[in-house]
């Protein structure tokens, strides 16, 4: 097997045994990017020289017998939403196309400390607003499985990079499903941690009470490895929870006996693609064969999740994005009359349509006279959605569901119908509102040859359980081993 396409664990093993050097590993992945990325559009920036320099340094460290970090030599692609010191960080927006942060995000610091090779910044929906990575100001990312279809969003670039074997690991962010859904569309593993597990310091904010940084990998082990590296308390983030991080990789192989899986009847209703439904049902059969009990649970308020999410996320976003005005950083318009105009012109030019829509929705929802009916109301329904999950997890260990009503849709299909796009987040969105962890694992291929993901959700801080349950399934199937065959550019 070629170097690219190996799992993180396999690469680490070979590098430890010195069968492969870090430079070789990095170079192989850089070559893959060169060969395939024009068609896929996963990356916004790749700095080959810096990546190779990092790889060389790690090889030297290994030679001299120095101790190495847990990700030593592994190329990691990073969603262009995390600040990387000295490297442009754009959030796929014209507004930040020239922005060079003077500091590293906490997660970036952790990755560097663990000797990862930061191979490049990946494409995304602008400011993480979208479910397809069509809202990027620069390019569209396509699922490596079919060039006519989207990679999913907003972390489409990171998911596609792993799926196309351009990096064994990648970092994304998930606010309403932005890791899980592209993972599903690209046939890789994607994990959204519990809110507060991973520091948001340096993650350019979209919706502060919903955003979380998480890993992509080819398999559950890779996700676990990356997860335990980036998780942990950071005093620079007031919402960071000070709780121990288990060594997930140690326990993922331990199945759960007497596993109780909850499913929500309403999830399997109209609108669900027939292949997706059948894939999920097959998954449940696999779990049954492993001794799991499948139970019906109710999440009575789940039908309100999309409305609740879009009001809260847009409100927070309208405020988080107010700072982009071309005064202290960001692009400033060339033509304008006076100050007010400068702000409006800079923002009008710098932001794409979806960003503007959500800023306006949020501004409206927070404005005087509408605050109670929209924003405040949504916050109350949020509490009810969270308590639905609290209730459910009294009786089940995990909840299983589809990730998305359909496999990857065609480029251009939903981009002009924002509401339809929002509704496609129906399965993933509640987890962000409740702050609970969720994972997407490859669980099938549709009749059109597109990957289908299974979503598992667990109670707060139960990532370990989630990974173990996911691994139980992975061990019984071969979906995670499938690598898409790519044509050259």
């Amino acid at each position: 097997m070629s170097i690219t396409g190996l799992t993180a664990a396999e690469l680490l093993r070979r590098m430890e045994r010195e069968e492969l050097s870090c430079v070789e590993v990095t170079q192989a992945h850089l070559d893959a990017i060169d060969t395939h990325d024009q068609q896929i559009g996963a990356f916004l920036h790749v700095d080959a020289d810096t990546a190779l320099a990092q790889a060389e340094a790690i090889d030297r460290k290994r030679q001299s017998g120095e101790s190495l970090g847990s990700l030593a030599g592994l190329p990691v692609a990073v969603k262009d939403m995390l600040c990387t010191k000295g490297q442009t960080t754009t959030c796929a927006s014209r507004m930040l196309q020239r922005f060079v942060p003077p500091y590293d995000a906490h997660v970036i610091t952790l990755l560097k400390q663990s000797d990862a090779v930061l191979i490049g910044k990946t494409n995304m929906d602008e400011f993480a607003m979208g479910s397809s990575t069509e809202n990027s100001a620069f390019k569209i990312t396509r699922t490596p499985w079919n060039r006519d279809c989207v990679a999913g969003g907003s972390s489409g670039g990171s998911a596609a990079a792993v799926a196309a074997s351009m990096a064994p690991l990648a970092i994304g962010s998930d606010t309403g499903g932005s890791i899980r859904q592209p993972a599903s569309f690209c046939g890789v593993v994607g994990l959204k941690p519990t809110y507060g597990r991973v520091s948001r310091y340096g993650l350019i904010a979209y919706a502060s009470s919903l955003d979380q940084v998480g890993p992509f990998a080819n398999d559950v082990h890779g996700a676990a490895l990356l997860m335990q590296t980036i998780a942990g308390y950071d005093r620079r983030d007031s919402t960071s929870v000070n709780i121990d991080v288990p060594t997930f990789t140690k326990t993922i192989g331990k199945p759960l006996s007497e596993l109780r899986i909850g499913i929500v009847r309403e999830h399997f209703a109209e609108g669900l693609h027939v292949d997706v439904e059948s894939a999920i049902q097959t998954t449940l059969d696999v779990y049954r064969s492993l001794g799991a009990k499948i139970r019906d649970i109710a999440l009575p308020h789940s039908r309100y999740a999309v409305a609740t999410y879009y009001l809260i996320a847009s409100s927070e976003a309208s405020s988080n994005l107010a700072r982009y005005d071309g005064v202290h950083y960001g692009d400033r318009a060339d033509q304008f009359d006076k100050m007010v105009d400068m702000y409006a012109a800079s923002r009008g030019e710098g932001f794409g349509a979806e960003v503007k829509r959500r800023i306006m929705l949020g501004t409206y929802a927070l404005s005087s006279g509408y605050y109670d009916a929209y924003y405040l109301k949504a916050l109350k329904v949020r509490r009810l959605i969270q308590s639905d999950f609290d209730q459910a997890f009294q009786n089940v260990d995990v909840i299983a569901s589809p990730v998305s009503p359909t496999p990857a849709f065609r480029v251009g299909k939903l981009v002009d119908d924002p509401l339809a796009m929002y509704l496609s987040d129906i399965y993933t969105i509640s987890a962000n509102l409740a702050g609970i962890p969720g994972i997407s694992v490859p669980a099938g291929i549709s009749s059109d040859g597109l990957p289908i993901g299974l979503q598992l959700l667990a109670a707060p801080f139960e990532e370990e359980r989630l990974l173990r349950v996911a691994h139980m399934f992975e061990r019984e199937t071969e979906w995670h081993k499938q690598r898409v065959v790519l044509e050259s550019n």
Binding site: V306, A344, K356, S367, R383
Partner: protein
């Protein structure tokens, strides 16, 4: 809440949000935002009054997160101004600020 969103409303919101919109955008957004606002009305079906449901801003019930009053390294002036669209090397420069701007 029952009055549909007008173009004028959208214009006002765009002003509040400091977004310069073209006429085409104004029309498009009035339509699209109108649809979204219609959709979110479904939240009215949820009774949040009877049991006086508390709004949930944070999912984790954290309290009292503080930092000590200790000096940390600041950025140099060069670093602070590095991304400024216009600067004289000391200050961020903006067009003259007049009353009411």
């Amino acid at each position: 809440m029952s009055v549909p969103l007008t173009r004028d409303d959208v214009q006002k919101v765009a002003m509040l949000a400091r977004l310069k919109l073209s006429d085409a955008e104004l029309d498009l957004f009035t339509n699209q935002l109108g649809q979204v606002l219609e959709y979110v009305k479904m939240l009215n079906e949820v009774d949040t009054d009877t049991d006086a449901i508390e709004p949930m801003v944070h999912v984790a019930e954290l309290r009292n997160v503080f930092r000590d009053d200790e000096l940390e390294k600041s950025l140099s002036r060069v670093e602070s101004l590095a991304n400024a669209p216009k600067t004289d090397g000391q200050f961020f420069l903006v067009p003259p600020i007049m009353e009411g701007t």
